[in-house]
């Protein structure tokens, strides 16, 4: 762990535990994230990545463990709390209300109001156009329900929501799972851009190939436990694959086991 370094990590999650009934979905996991850094959180289905990250985004409460934001202990019980700490999340499901339009979704729960305390839809549309102008200039469907948008456009809406509110910590859960190659490339560029602006990003994926190039560090989870965190520059994809599948750190797996990964 690198807790003694300065500056303090943007996020530090210590010994997080979440159990559903008797199942330990997250079992004593600790991860951290520094400004301008991309930490990939990888693992197979059911490894506990999403559950872990939900304790940071406020969607699910941890049974035990601590979260520090900028070195200060943080209490995150609801999504609203997380947003107070400038933590924004792009969920795998996108979390969009399909029946309302893009600006309404972007500002859901944080609507812009007129001075008479009514919804300022025009101002929200204006803000949405501005953000979208940067993210996806081709996007023009601001007045139609999100249900009539394509997968990539919906993704843009979810990303625009996270970006608009000045996130310092961004959580992206399988952000490119539903996207074509061109749109994936767009998201990857965005990650680079946000990173350059000093935002810390948790990138969650079940597939190491999706995130290897973007990540600075890689944390691997298996069956609710953290296998380990490695610097991307010091490992190969195969070594990470061995962590994901067998739970073995680089050097622990034998040559034959490494061969079997590809069989």
């Amino acid at each position: 762990m690198t807790t003694t370094e300065t500056p303090p990590p943007l996020v530090q999650m210590n010994d997080i535990r979440v159990a559903f009934g008797g199942v330990h979905a997250v079992d004593g996991v600790s991860v951290d994230l520094y400004p301008g850094e991309v930490v990939a959180l990888v693992g197979g289905n059911g490894a506990g990545k999403t559950t872990l990250i939900k304790t940071l985004s406020g969607a699910h409460k941890a049974d035990s463990g601590e979260i520090y934001v900028n070195g200060q202990k943080a209490t995150i019980a609801t999504p609203r709390d997380a947003k107070e700490y400038a933590i924004e999340t792009i969920y795998q499901t996108l979390a969009l209300a399909e029946n309302i339009d893009a600006p309404s979704n972007m500002f859901l729960g944080r609507e812009l109001m007129t001075r008479w305390n009514t919804l300022d839809d025009t101002a929200m549309e204006d803000a949405a156009r501005n953000v979208m102008g940067r993210l996806n200039p081709k996007f023009q469907n601001f007045k139609v329900p999100v249900s009539s948008l394509s997968g990539g456009q919906r993704q843009s809406v979810a990303i625009a929501r996270a970006v608009h509110f000045n996130a310092k910590i961004l959580i992206m859960d399988e952000p490119t799972a539903a996207l074509g190659p061109a749109e994936t490339e767009q998201v990857n560029e965005l990650v680079q851009q946000l990173k350059a602006e000093g935002i810390g990003i948790f990138l969650i994926s079940h597939d190491i190939h999706d995130v290897f190039d973007l990540a600075d560090r890689i944390s691997v989870m298996l069956q609710g436990k953290l296998v380990g965190t490695v610097n991307k520059n010091e490992v190969t994809k195969d070594e990470v694959l061995a962590m994901i599948i067998m739970g073995k750190l680089p050097g622990e797996a034998t040559a034959t086991e490494m061969e079997e990964l590809h069989s």
């Binding site: 969009l96 209300a97 729960g109 944080r110 025009t122 993210l135 249900s147």
Partner: protein, 437 residues
């Protein structure tokens, strides 16, 4: 963060020129589904007019139609939000009975003992008590739905039985009458209306309102550089809107008081009935004014404030609403409480109109209210629905019923017709929606 640094507002987007009826309608940005309903309503009206040999589209019949529609229309506006939030309220009719009975008992037996007979405050107290009771019952049911997690179908099905029983028990099945003389005005009748002059005033105020909305909307779009409606479309909307409002007032104002009532009213004012008789217009009935006010307020609530936006978001994706930081459970409680308050208003109108409360009050009303909302385009799957649509739905249903009574259709056939229309309306809506998607 640089990403939020706004680039200059883009210039208004010019839409490519199109020339077809569809594109012309699109240019006005009128809701085509609402337009379809209006067309259906006109077809129903004209058909009944011909079928009844010219008695349907008379000022008198339309005036009665407007009064008969108001109670269901008032409650349907609340049902829209309940259904949009992926819930249902089956207890509306029974709640109406309990609230109606409460208001009647207050006026006929409780308040006269405390305040004296026909005290000027009686009607206010009765009405507010009814609305408060509605909020309480609705809020309680909403609490059980949202916080305990019992499906609303079950909670309100229970409510349907419970409140019906309570209404009976409150008066042991007696009929409670008469109502306070001021309270009776809420129900319409020959006294419960605002007369011809004030109806014109209401009409002109509505006209100014329509124009103000159009102007303000355009100003907002100009301010942010958004696409504008063509000027002809704006003008057309204004002219049609005002035309419909003022035309309706002009037509309804041709329904005059019966000569006897007119004479009494003139004599009370110290005048004498002229030899040739006199034409005093009823004007808009009070329950209709209440329904219009409720429609405007509920439309505002549904589209312009946070609460309404949240109800729609919950209906579209409850999980997304929760993740957006919305207090979804509390929003559901408020939705049901609002429904209850509207039942309170609906109960006041009905009890005032009947000038009595009976324990069978409001029987099957829940079904008419739900049907009005659904005919008006509210989707039972949640997330979709409009307040004006539901009001039109109520008007369509009442038109069918009144029309069939007028032409002498047997009662069982009336039910069959209304049932068929309900299913056909929703079928057309589903097909339309699938094609639009």
């Amino acid at each position: 963060m640089a990403v939020t640094d706004a680039p200059p507002t883009p210039a208004p987007v010019e839409e490519p020129e199109e020339r077809s009826i569809g594109s012309l309608i699109r240019a006005t940005e009128i809701d085509t589904r609402l337009l379809g309903m209006l067309v259906a309503l006109v077809v129903i009206w004209v058909s009944f007019h011909i079928w009844s040999g010219g008695t349907f589209l008379t000022p008198r019949n339309l005036w009665n139609l407007s009064v008969q529609t108001s109670a269901v229309a008032i409650m349907a506006t609340g049902m829209v939000l309940v259904i949009v939030s992926r819930n249902i309220d089956l207890s509306v009719g029974s709640m109406l009975a309990v609230i109606g009975m409460t208001m009647a008992l207050l006026q006929a037996e409780i308040l006269p003992d405390i305040l004296g007979f026909d005290h000027p405050l009686t009607w206010v107290i009765a009405l507010l008590a009814g609305i408060a009771l509605g909020a309480l019952i609705g809020g309680f049911q909403g609490f059980v739905v949202a916080y305990i997690g019992v499906p609303s179908f079950i909670v309100t099905l229970g409510g349907l039985l419970v409140w019906r029983g309570v209404a009976w028990a409150m008066a042991s099945g007696r009929t409670i009458a008469p109502m306070d003389s001021t309270f009776q005005l809420l129900g319409g009748g020959s006294r419960g209306n605002i007369g011809g002059f004030w109806s014109w005033v209401v009409g002109f105020v509505a006209c100014v309102g329509i124009i103000a909305l159009l102007v303000n909307g355009r100003r907002q779009r100009v301010k942010f550089g958004f696409k504008l409606r063509p000027v002809w479309a704006e003008a057309l909307l204004g002219v049609i809107g005002c035309g419909v409002v003022l035309g309706s007032i002009a037509y309804l104002n041709r329904y005059f008081l019966p000569e006897q009532v007119a004479r009494q009213r003139l004599e009370a004012a110290g005048d004498v009935l002229p030899a040739g008789g006199v034409e005093i217009a009823f004007g808009l009935a009070n329950p209709v004014l209440i329904a219009i006010a409720v429609t405007l307020i509920m439309t505002f609530v549904a589209t312009r404030v946070r609460f309404g936006r949240y109800v729609f978001a919950i209906g579209g994706n409850p999980e997304a609403a929760e993740l957006g930081g919305i207090k979804t459970k509390w929003t559901i409680v408020k939705t049901f409480a609002l429904m209850g308050m509207l039942v309170g208003i609906g109960a006041a109108v009905q009890v005032a109109r009947l000038n009595a409360a009976v324990s069978g009050l409001g029987q099957l009303t829940e079904l008419y209210v739900i049907a009005a909302a659904v005919i008006g385009g509210t989707s039972l799957a949640g997330g979709i629905g409009t307040i004006p649509g539901a009001v039109l739905g109520a008007l369509v249903m009442q038109s069918l019923q009144s029309g069939m009574v007028l032409v002498g259709v047997d009662a069982p056939l009336q039910d069959i017709a209304v049932g068929v229309v309900l299913v056909v309306a929703v079928a057309i809506d589903s097909i339309y929606r699938r094609r639009a998607a």
